[in-house]
């Protein structure tokens, strides 16, 4: 009976997201070939970066969008941060540029977006970390 109750509780806690979208994406951003440095393999498995795309606006500020997916059936929390680098590879620091807290339901995909703070920003990094607090 104990095993049955535990199984019931486990199922009750697992809710995942079904998603429907058009087969062919219209006006998709240009995909970016990325380099990944993984120091937390469990996070990389559970919250997967599916793709990264970028586009440049008329004002010259690059916009980036990363699609992340929760590959598990469980609710996951994580933090992420976009860092922007200028043409010389120097970090552009902003008081608003901290880690963003985010959450994903089981199986859910989400778009993380950022706009370059200046037209001089030419490169970016996306950092992800599992919930610390």
């Amino acid at each position: 009976m104990g095993i049955g109750m535990a199984g019931l509780l486990a199922v009750a806690g697992c809710r995942s997201v079904n998603m429907v979208e058009p087969e062919g994406r219209i006006n998709a951003p240009s995909m970016v070939a990325d380099k990944r440095v993984v120091t937390d393999p469990s996070l990389a498995r559970r919250v997967q970066v599916v793709s990264i795309g970028e586009a440049e606006g008329a004002g010259g500020h690059i916009r980036v969008q990363a699609e992340v997916r929760n590959t598990t059936r469980n609710y996951r929390t994580f933090s992420y941060k976009f860092e922007w680098l200028d043409g010389d590879g120097i970090l552009i620091e902003l008081p608003s540029g901290g880690y963003q807290r985010s959450q994903l339901e089981g199986g859910e995909s989400r778009m993380l977006t950022s706009v370059a703070p200046t037209a001089a920003a030419k490169d970016f990094r996306l950092k992800l970390i599992e919930k610390v607090r």
């Binding site: 606006g57 008329a58 004002g59 010259g60 500020h61 916009r63 933090s79 941060k81 552009i92 902003l94 008081p95 608003s96 540029g97 901290g98 880690y99 963003q100 807290r101 977006t113 950022s114 706009v115 370059a116 703070p117 200046t118 037209a119 970390i129 919930k131 610390v132 607090r133």
Partner: protein
């Protein structure tokens, strides 16, 4: 091991533990280790709200070429009222200053510190200097803002049993000199926790 030694070891161990627990550490203000409380706006909440607003402002006004500039190819921004509709004392500069800094770094927006609500300048000395220059040169030098930034912070609280939830809604509006809201956005930050996470 005699009782005296045992007492000494336990006492020393306890003192070490207490010492470690009370030791203060620096943490990154924008990092993932900052403390989160349910019923207060934490520093990371201001950063998250400001980040979203900045992204939205830059994309809508600058990247889409909608920003109208006057002085030296830059738009002048005035800071208007940001209403605090929460139960805590909030310094709204914690939100607006981050946005101002980010807009300033775009090189396309500058904020006036000598023209404010009810004639009150953010920088009274700069305002005095400007007025003295106007007297000396005999002409008006004050540049009027092209845009004004106003907003509101609203708090919503809910409790179910031992679970507490608070939502803080950050609303901002950019109004043009024609009196039209040319940009608006809203960011809601919701936190849940037990009684111990309410904060003091």
């Amino acid at each position: 091991m005699n009782k005296l030694m045992q007492t000494g070891i336990v006492g020393l161990g306890s003192a070490l533990l207490v010492g470690c627990a009370s030791q203060a550490n620096y943490v990154d203000s924008g990092g993932p280790r900052t403390l989160t409380t349910v019923n207060q706006i934490n520093i990371q909440d201001y950063q998250m709200a400001a980040d979203k607003m900045v992204n939205s402002l830059i994309h809508t006004m600058i990247n889409q070429g909608r920003l109208e500039t006057s002085a030296n190819g830059q738009a002048i921004l005035g800071i208007s009222r940001v209403i605090n509709n929460t139960s805590e004392h909030v310094d709204t500069d914690l939100l607006t200053k981050k946005i101002r800094v980010a807009l300033n770094k775009t090189g396309q927006v500058v904020t006036t510190t000598t023209y404010g609500l009810g004639g009150k300048a953010e920088d009274p000395l700069a305002q005095q200097i400007l007025r003295d220059r106007e007297k000396a040169e005999g002409k008006a030098l004050t540049l009027l803002p092209d845009y004004s930034l106003s907003g509101k912070i609203i708090e919503l609280r809910t409790r179910v049993g031992r679970k507490y939830q608070s939502s803080h809604v950050f609303q901002l509006t950019l109004t043009s000199r024609d009196g039209l809201a040319v940009w608006e956005d809203e960011k809601t930050i919701t936190k849940q926790g037990g009684r111990r996470s309410l904060g003091g």
